[in-house]
């Protein structure tokens, strides 16, 4: 009986996964192109002005909410702070293309796996991990979107980009899927980490 239940759960999970639309669905034949880092838009563009986001980390039905603040401190450095709504500091990160400094992280979260997760997520969102120039597979898709696939040492990064406004709609990166629905208001970025014990992070723009 237990085996039957287990098989049913696995079968359902596989079915659900196969039904989820692929990041390539509706796209034509891909051709090889040479691109620069600037050809891939950033999900979040850090500027000299302070930008604020609502951040929710969900893990096993628990939700941890805070305010994420991002500001470019100089041409190479981006600072990211996360505070609880109550005002307490939760995280303080400094990012450059080649470095990630943890100035502060709540004790409960200060584990190598969590630090790595934040590092990879922020690098992905800020577009800091790509080399200056690289070779990619590119194809046109339905709904005026294009598909770009890049092989890096860390794995494969696949993007679905809206060609009208040059906004990223979806990313499939090593360990994480990112979704940014075009017409969400406020603009909402959902990072679903793959794996049984991985959190989902939802970031919403605030005025």
């Amino acid at each position: 009986m237990r085996n039957l239940l287990f098989v049913s759960v696995v079968a359902f999970a596989l079915l659900a996964a196969s039904c989820a639309s692929s990041i390539r669905s509706g796209c034509g034949e891909a051709g090889r192109v040479l691109l620069s880092r600037t050809d891939i838009p950033s999900v979040i563009v850090a500027t000299d002005s302070l930008q604020t986001f609502d951040m929710e980390i969900s893990f096993f039905g628990k939700h941890l909410n805070g305010m994420m603040l991002i500001k470019r401190q100089d041409p190479e450095t981006v600072r990211i702070l996360v505070n609880s709504y109550f005002g307490m500091s939760m995280a303080d990160f400094e990012m450059r293309a080649d470095t990630f400094v943890v100035h502060y992280l709540l004790d409960a979260m200060n584990k190598p796996s969590v630090v790595n997760l934040f590092k990879n997520d922020f690098k992905l969102l800020l577009g800091l991990y790509l080399p200056e120039h690289f070779s990619a597979q590119k194809s046109l898709c339905k709904q005026l979107e294009e598909f770009i696939s890049i092989e890096t040492l860390q794995g494969k990064y696949q993007y679905r980009i809206n060609m009208e406004n040059q906004n990223i709609v979806r990313i499939k990166a090593p360990g994480v899927n990112v979704e940014i629905p075009s017409h969400s208001s406020p603009r909402t970025i959902t990072l679903k980490h793959r794996g049984l014990f991985s959190p989902t992070i939802v970031i919403k723009e605030m005025k």
Binding site: T52, D54, E56, N65, L81, Y85, F86, Y104, M206, K207
Partner: protein
């Protein structure tokens, strides 16, 4: 000359720190008794609050506003309306956050440090500092219109999150006007309370944790 400059500098810093006119309270016992008497009469508080989180690294502050509710015993709720709807409620040993319809409930009873933090926040927000145990060092100051209490945690586990708390009391009403929570990183959060109404809450509706 150097000595004079140093002394002047030191005094100017103290001046700024204590709102230009704060002096140490000499008769602490009377002050504590008066505060205890007033806090003892408070069954509930509801007030508007403005929260200003100052971040040294950005030289900027984040402002939030909302309503603050307190009801005896052990019930506190901060209900934010700006920059977004969010609520944090402490009811007895439970803490619940609510945002976008999603609730997360944490049991504080099982965690000694969280229990200490809860006691500290509760005591600070209604001015019931006599409820604080020997885990804190208290310093008292006054001006013509205000009292100021500086609370320094002794426990290393609390110190990891809060360096000190400063509470400003209105001398006439003995109500808490402002609370400053300074973190170890020298960032601080001010909570400014206005339109405070005492003993007006008749039910626990604002503190329901489901």
């Amino acid at each position: 000359m150097f000595k004079i400059t140093t002394i002047l500098y030191f005094f100017s810093l103290s001046f700024l720190l204590f709102g230009q006119e704060m002096q140490p309270i000499t008769n602490v016992t009377d002050f504590e008794r008066e505060l205890k008497e007033v806090a003892g009469k408070i069954e509930s508080v509801e007030s508007n609050f403005r929260q200003e989180k100052f971040m040294k690294v950005f030289s900027d502050k984040m402002v939030s506003t909302g309503m603050f509710y307190y009801r005896k015993p052990n019930k506190i709720s901060l209900q934010y309306d700006k920059p977004m709807q969010y609520a944090i409620t402490i009811n007895g040993d439970k803490l619940q956050t609510l945002t976008g319809g999603k609730k997360t409930t944490v049991n504080l009873g099982s965690n000694k440090m969280m229990g200490q933090m809860k006691g500290l926040i509760e005591a600070s927000m209604i001015g019931n500092i006599s409820a604080l145990d020997k885990e804190y060092e208290l310093h008292y100051f006054q001006s013509a219109s205000e009292y100021f209490v500086r609370i320094l945690p002794k426990s290393q586990s609390v110190k990891a999150y809060i360096k000190e708390i400063g509470i400003t009391f209105d001398k006439k009403t003995m109500g808490v006007k402002q609370l400053r929570m300074t973190e170890n990183s020298d960032d601080y959060t001010d909570y400014i309370f206005t339109n405070s109404q005492y003993n007006t809450l008749q039910s626990d509706e604002k503190f329901a944790i489901r």
